[in-house]
């Protein structure tokens, strides 16, 4: 008896929940309104079946519950009824499937006028490539991938020379133009998803997959990876900005081509030495750091990491949070480097400094720290802690542990890394939670101290 009432309540409750729910599809920002139509159609058909069958069941339970003296009716089967119900079901299924297949046919047929761009996935970053003026993407191969050529572009291919490379996880698209995204992975499966566009597709290493859409609404949208790709899966984020053609063109023209990057002159470390004089007052002549001034050791860091952090300081991506006391001191210092060239030079100088020792200041259980480190940190920073250009993870070995301690706490408290342009810092905000408490943090740092 109660079950009949509950079944009715559950049906009513589900319908109410559906209409009251604030959780529903994001506003559509592409041409795929037909997908939304198919979903709504399916919703109404299945919703009607859900309500009808369950209410009928509730009625049966109520009406035919056991009563003294009552006996069930003996009726082994009723072929007419069963065939009739199957036929009605088949009609309902066709009503949902047919429009679905039509929409799928448009999805698999890319319009002629769609322009191509390439999405490159790797653990746990997005990057993008646009064909240059020739409109053709150059050939690529995993064998060409190196620190100097992260996209793996074939240096011999003339089509690749003017390819525009976007190493940041932020890309632009012009509004109202159909685009075909070519999807490529350097390592494992990923999935290129922008909820507002409705379409998604896996990136599969060893092959190129695709999807197409026409962005219809100007704005900025999250790119998510939706195929499990290792422990950084949930921090593999990007942004796609849908812009007016003029804004798009302006943005695109600011991005370097393959030829420009390949032909860039080496940074001038000697010039960097001049600039470094200011830095040395806190960080020391050898970049050995000075705990008394809260200046961390710098020697031993990779130049690309120093470059990026300096730019973040300049752009207010880092060192702008009111609680980031020392970061706020650093920001104006970084701004003294007036050009990108100066930043590159000083970074190059620092990365060449002889590596000095950093005295250990924390103590903890290194064995416990090792298991936490290997499970969570090593994927980017390496088992040896030396970091990698491929994952944009800096060296950790031999650096100031008190500084790492502060930074990890800053990540956890979102004092650092919460800025939407701090792409890798954002990953650390999540990953730093692997050290659940003070004790585990010290354990990990003392393990890192034990690395050579």
């Amino acid at each position: 008896m109660a079950i009949a009432v509950v079944l009715v309540l559950l049906v009513v409750g589900s319908v109410v929940f559906h209409f009251a729910s604030p959780w529903w599809f994001t506003p559509l920002a592409s041409n795929w309104g037909t997908i939304d139509f198919t979903i709504n159609l399916t919703f109404w058909v299945t919703g009607a079946v859900f309500v009808a069958v369950n209410l009928f069941m509730a009625y049966c339970v109520y009406r035919f519950r056991h009563k003294a003296g009552h006996k069930a009716v003996y009726e082994p089967e009723n072929a007419k009824l069963e065939i009739g119900l199957s036929a009605v079901t088949a009609v309902g299924v066709i009503a949902m499937l047919a429009p679905g297949l039509f929409v799928w046919a448009t999805f698999v047929t890319v319009p002629e006028e769609a322009t191509e761009y390439e999405v490159v996935g790797q653990q746990w970053q997005w990057s993008f490539r646009y064909p240059g003026n020739d409109g053709v993407l150059g050939t690529v191969d995993t064998r060409h991938i190196s620190e100097a050529n992260p996209f793996g572009i074939n240096p011999e291919d003339p089509n690749g020379q003017d390819d525009i490379l976007v190493k940041d996880p932020e890309m632009y698209l012009p509004v109202g133009k159909p685009v075909k995204a070519l999807l490529r992975s350097k390592d494992v499966l990923h999935n290129y998803t922008v909820p507002q566009f409705r379409v998604k597709m896996d990136l599969v290493p060893g092959m190129v997959t695709y999807l197409w859409f026409t962005p219809t609404v100007v704005g900025s949208y999250d790119i998510l990876c939706e195929e499990l790709c290792g422990i950084g899966h949930h921090v593999m984020r990007g942004k796609v900005v849908v812009a007016e053609q003029a804004d798009y063109d302006a943005w695109l023209s600011r991005q370097p081509t393959y030829a420009q990057l390949a032909g860039m002159s080496a940074p001038n470390a000697a010039a960097g030495q001049q600039q470094y004089a200011v830095c040395a007052s806190c960080h020391g002549q050898q970049g050995e750091g000075n705990p008394a001034l809260n200046a961390p050791k710098l020697n031993g860091l990779q130049s690309w990491y120093i470059e990026r952090q300096l730019k973040y300081y300049q752009q207010g991506v880092r060192g702008a949070h009111p609680d980031d006391v020392y970061g706020r001191q650093m920001a104006p210092m970084a701004s003294m480097l007036s050009t990108d060239e100066a930043v590159r030079n000083v970074a190059a100088y620092i990365s060449q400094l002889p590596v000095t020792d950093a005295p250990a200041t924390v103590s903890g259980n290194a064995a416990n720290g090792m298991s936490i480190y290997n499970a969570n940190c090593a994927a980017c920073h390496g088992k040896d802690g030396k970091g990698s250009w491929a994952t944009d993870a800096p060296n950790l070995v031999g650096m100031s542990d008190w500084y790492a301690y502060t930074q990890l706490n800053n990540f956890k408290a979102e004092i650092r890394g919460a800025h939407s342009d701090d792409d890798y810092g954002e990953q650390m905000v999540s990953m730093a939670t692997a050290m659940r408490n003070e004790e585990q943090l010290n354990d990990v740092l003392s393990y890192i101290n034990s690395l050579q």
Binding site: T46, F50, Y74, S86, P205
Partner: protein, 592 residues
């Protein structure tokens, strides 16, 4: 001279009786003991998986409050929870547990036809479980690649347990498949060869049909998993490139070239989709018998129910790539697989209609097993209908890899089969133990489980509509997910904790009733099928005493007009209902 089967010859059924504790309960060849060994092990390992899901839910619901897991162990929990629940709990429990217990009894056989193989099957299963669990204690821990084990990430750095954990997983699956094959051959052979006299195929209870078809599916499907596990092991250990193209890892080029990650997915889902029905078909069968018995009415449309099981089983082999619509496979496959997938909806819907029509004009006893069975129909309708979203290829584009998928498959192959497991356990417990379970506790257990799971999974669909991706340790910051989604997640976690805790009621009931339950007698529900007609309860070794039962009618003669009681056991002769005494045709329709 009259034919007397070997097993019926007087001196014969004495010979294989076990005499020591070890042969009776440990190295037992009795299908009933093996069933309980299988079921007990499956439930224990299922509790591990339940614990893992609690850890995941705490992380998702209250990410800043609990310090239980880090990203690495979160993905390990996701993986192990899924694999354990699908393979080591549900497959083992339905086939190794219920299959073992019910097939010989429902078929009127003394045991499985290969009892020794049956015993080996259990011990190999136990070994596979131990290997699987041992991965929690090795360096790097268990694999965190997701239960789908998609390469390349399964065996590349960046995935937890990519060295030892994954190897143990693959070995464990291999051993499990050996165990399943030994059991499966037994189940099929027993059903086909050892049925009692008069028990034609079209008189078998639907439980047997469900288990038989599921076993046949398993025998065809598991080899695909086995070969993919072997090939992946080669990729891992020998450096072959079956599934591995040329890729990078941490800035280094790995020594692989030319393999296909999508090949693995095809093999995996060629196993993986039938696997859904390996779990679902036994549940369909068992719930049919529970519904019929407690509605005091024949299962409606028995023949259609049988053919629906067979049709679903057959179709389940041609729908696998609906798991791969966005995998990057040739998109033209979408047309074919969407069509086959939605065709499956027709026989499946027919089963639902026939369950509900079984209630129509019944005499419904709302006891605990029946409540679970009715709850199953509700959750299965829900889960089945959301399958029409995901199967329709374009709708899968926005919903794939979101919480909608998680909610869908938990409704359809998590909650629904588990409700059937409980319905079946409450239903057959009296036969297994000779004691009734406590009704009050049982009903309380039902309400907590049924309402609690719906409170978990109904809202979860809406996170999926919103676009919240699955398999995320933490959502981090996005523009499109409102704050309220986190509140919803917290509520889902509370419901999950409630449901997990409520399962204590079941275990209390099982152990309490073992000692204090009312004696059930041999046939407490007034059921028609053979297992309720054994001379002893619980049935002794050999099941039937001296003479095997002879079957005279189909399995569903409930409330036959003109018959004094509201059920006629299958082994009762007489000119009522669908018996052979006035008609040797098996078609029940003639009497409708």
């Amino acid at each position: 001279m009259a034919y007397v089967p070997l097993a019926d010859q007087d001196h014969e059924h004495e010979l294989h009786d076990p005499h020591t504790f070890i042969t009776k309960y440990v190295w037992s060849q009795d299908h009933k003991v093996i069933a309980i060994q299988y079921g007990g092990t499956a439930i224990l390992v299922g509790l591990v998986a339940l614990g893992l899901s609690v850890m995941m839910r705490l992380q998702l619901g209250f990410p800043d409050t609990f310090s239980l897991i880090d990203p690495s162990s979160y993905y390990q929990a996701v993986t192990m929870h899924g694999m354990i629940m699908v393979v080591y709990l549900l497959t083992a429990l339905f086939l190794g547990g219920f299959g073992n217990y019910l097939i010989p009894l429902m078929c009127g056989a003394r045991d499985m036809v290969f009892p020794f193989l049956n015993m080996l099957s259990f011990w190999f299963y136990l070994l596979s479980v131990l290997i699987l669990l041992s991965s929690f204690f090795v360096t790097g821990g268990p694999t965190g690649a997701g239960w789908t084990l998609y390469p390349p990430q399964t065996i590349t750095p960046g995935t937890p347990g990519h060295e030892t954990g994954i190897l143990l997983m693959l070995i464990s699956l291999g051993v499990f498949i050996v165990a399943f094959t030994m059991g499966g051959l037994n189940y099929v052979t027993t059903v086909l060869q050892a049925r009692s006299r008069g028990l034609t195929m079209m008189r078998l209870p639907l439980s047997v049909w469900g288990i038989l078809t599921a076993t046949v599916l398993g025998l065809f499907a598991f080899p695909a998993l086995l070969v993919s596990a072997i090939m992946m092991t080669f990729d891992l250990m020998l450096g072959t490139s079956f599934f591995m193209p040329a890729i990078m890892a941490a800035g280094e080029q790995l020594d692989y070239n030319g393999g296909s990650p999508i090949l693995f997915q095809h093999l995996f889902w060629f196993f993986g989709h039938p696997e859904v029905y390996i779990v679902a078909l036994p549940a369909f069968g068992l719930v049919s018998d529970v519904l019929s018995t407690h509605a005091r009415k024949n299962i409606f449309g028995y023949r259609m129910m049988v053919w629906a099981i067979v049709a679903i089983g057959g179709l389940s082999f041609v729908v696998w790539a609906h798991h791969m619509y966005v995998s990057g496979m040739n998109p033209y496959f979408g047309f074919f697989f969407a069509t086959t997938t939605l065709i499956i909806a027709v026989p499946t819907a027919l089963k639902v209609y026939n369950w509900v029509l079984t209630l129509w004009e019944g005499d419904i006893r709302l006891n605990t097993p029946m409540l679970f069975a009715i709850g199953f129909i509700f959750t299965f309708i829900h889960g089945g209908l959301t399958g029409l979203f995901l199967g329709n290829v374009v709708i899968d584009l926005p919903l794939s890899d979101t919480y909608f998928v998680v909610a869908h498959f938990h409704m359809v192959m998590g909650v629904s089969p588990v409700l059937v497991v409980f319905a079946a356990l409450y239903h057959w417990y009296p036969k297994m133990t000779g004691k009734m379970m406590n009704e009050t506790l049982g009903k309380l257990h039902f309400w907590c489980t049924f309402l609690g799971t719906y409170a978990i999974y109904l809202p979860m669909h809406y996170l999926g509509f919103l676009g919240v991706p699955r398999r995320y340790y933490a959502m981090g910051s996005t523009d499109f997910i409102p704050e309220s989604a986190q509140a919803l997640n917290a509520n889902i976690t509370l419901a999950a904790l409630f449901v997990a805790t409520a399962q204590v009621l079941f275990f209390i009931n099982v152990f309490w009733s073992l000692k204090n339950g009312k004696p059930s007698g041999g046939n407490p529900w007034g059921a028609t099928t053979l297992e309720w007609q054994t001379p002893d309860t619980p049935p002794k070794h050999g099941n039937w005493g001296k003479d095997l039962p002879v079957v005279h009618r189909w399995a569903y003669d409930y409330s036959v007009p003109g018959y004094p009681q509201d059920f006629i056991p299958q082994n009762v002769a007489g000119d009522f209902g669908v018996s052979d005494d006035h008609d040797h045709d098996d078609a029940p329709a003639k009497h409708a």
